[in-house]
Amino acid sequence: MAEAQRSCWIEEHDGQSVLFVGGAWRLSALRKLSQQLRAPHGVLLGVARQTAPAVIDGSGLHDIDTAAALLLLDALAEAGGDPATVALRHFDPRHGRVFEVVRGRFAETAVAPARHRLSALADIGKKASDLGTLLLGHVEFFGRTLVELSRLLLRPHTLRVHELFAQLGQVGVNAIPVVALVTFLIGVVMAYMLGLQAEKYGANIFVVDGVALGITREFSPLIVATIMAGRSGAAFTAQLGTMKLTEEIDAIRTLGLSAPQVLVVPRVLALVLTLPLLVFVGNVAGLAGAMVMSNLTLDITPQTFMERLHVALAPRHYVIGLGKSPVFALFIAIIGCRMGLSVSRDTRSIGINTTSTVVQGIVAVILLDAMFAVIFQELDL
């Protein structure tokens, strides 16, 4: 039955062109309906297009929903007809109501021109300016935190001891297993890789020199700081961001408490205090890993390893490694807290800021490490 396939056609009646619609006009058939209405062979916008119909006949209509009614009006408007004045006839009252609902809102559905998108160059400029704003904000926050810390020196009783210890537990104690594991494996890998080279020259014992210097001065501080940037920095941002979202921070303010004092200072202190300790754990674990590997593959007994360690590892390398870590900690904690407090009031920005914290934290740690390397080089340390 060809008639069943046809959803719309135009006939001339009494000098008027009448658009007949039939069958089920539903959202699910929108594409098919659109093709029948529009180009290239559609009844309204086809090649053999007539004058736009002024009457729509719905006697054959089984069903119509708002989406299909919109399509009909849209195509009619495109064909030069006037959706506001087109007359309906033989419509089922229910169908007519749906049609009128859409017709009443047709003007509101007009699509605004697409918004102007930034060109690549403007985009780069905007990103750069955003980065500048971000860094400026960090500097400001850094200053405010230092003020808060110095205030703490004058009035030690304002320290939130309970919160500080809670943070020390989360940031420090709970991180020991992962820090020990990772640095142990780094020690193993370093001893193995150095051993492969040293064995060729029969210089097995100098593996201890290389590992001792490498682990204590560079690898342990760098890797532990990176772990903490991912672990604690992200946690700070997520915690403070959630508190901001649930208006807890506003509540702290309205209760007359200082958000930096209650939230930021304990976190910064906790990380600054624990990172050197974790670096120490990392040193021990890394050297232990190297010792195990040397024993297995290089025939260096643990005793020989320890003796050589005493000779090869000058205390200054050890102190430099430990000394760098509070600075890393300060930067990680400040970035983490600031990104948490600058979360805007939607859930999405917590995710964005947390990711950003990890990236910024790691970049900051590596930049600082490079600066330290140059400074110590110049100082002949």
Partner: protein, 266 residues
């Protein structure tokens, strides 16, 4: 037309337990096509849980739930997917996708489940927004930039995207000012009347009940304790129902016990 064939939502003998706590104890409920039903009940009476069970989000401990003829807890994935395209749900806080703008939110179901021609899509999104009472320029906004009332309207627009036969709403007017809330009521009444949508909503709003709900179902003690027009429900002799419907009156006429005590002391 028999009542069975006309039923859009059929809940039969639903039992829900959380540990030792029984929320529903053999609850049955039928909603017919074209009805506008309000579900009320005290906190903890399991209104939202029942809604989630009807939607297929939470499995009842026992009993059957049929939505548009599909047994929501024994149907195949294909049947469920087909049924899910036929109803819309507006969550209490909107549950808009925060990474998409409002237009993107409304377009998501259309893009996923229909082959709407690309040239018509923006217009169709705007029509959905207009039906929910939002102007087209709201489409470019992100959910975080919207006020509470606009969020609810945007969520309604998304729920209406696929021309649903049934519309579920969880507390549609909570957190809205009275003017916005009444406008929202009118919107729901219009969708129900003019577009023939079956509407089931959980609400606490007395004004909504009295103005637009043609049927009120009261949950309590694990089952339906009253079912009928607002007037009929109001006449039911039940302590909770009586205090619920008289709550507004009580607040305006009752004396504040704290103040009386103070006055006595002075």
């Amino acid at each position: 037309m028999n009542a069975q064939a006309d039923a859009v939502i059929e809940v039969e003998g639903v039992v829900t337990r959380f540990g030792a706590q029984t929320v529903h104890d053999g609850l049955s409920l039928q909603v017919r096509r074209g009805e506008l039903v309000a579900l009320i009940g005290g906190s903890g009476s399991g209104k939202s849980v029942l809604l989630r069970e009807i939607l297929g989000l939470q499995r009842p401990t026992a009993g059957t739930v049929r939505l548009l003829g599909t047994d929501m807890w024994n149907a195949s994935d294909d049947e469920l997917a087909a049924t899910r395209k036929r109803f819309g749900m507006m969550f209490q806080e909107g549950a808009l996708f925060s990474s998409l703008d409002v237009a993107g939110n409304v377009a998501t179901p259309l893009l996923e489940h229909t082959d709407t021609p690309a040239e018509l899509l923006p217009r169709l999104v705007n029509l959905r927004l207009a039906l929910a009472g939002l102007s087209a320029d709201v489409g470019a906004k992100m959910p975080a930039q919207l006020s509470g009332g606009m969020k609810k309207r945007a969520a309604l627009a998304r729920a209406l995207a696929l021309e649903p036969e049934v519309l579920f709403l969880d507390e549609p007017t909570s957190g809205l000012d009275p003017i916005t809330a009444r406008a929202f009521d009118q919107l729901l009444a219009f969708l129900n009347k003019d577009l023939g949508l079956t509407v089931l909503m959980v609400t606490h709003d007395l004004d909504t009940l009295l103005s637009i709900a043609r049927r009120v179902v009261v949950l309590g003690r694990g089952t339906v304790i009253a079912d009928g027009t607002a007037d009929a429900v109001m006449a039911v002799q039940d302590p909770w129902i009586q205090s619920y419907f008289s709550s507004r009156q009580t607040v305006s006429t009752a004396t504040d016990p704290g103040r009386t005590a103070q006055a006595d002391g002075a």
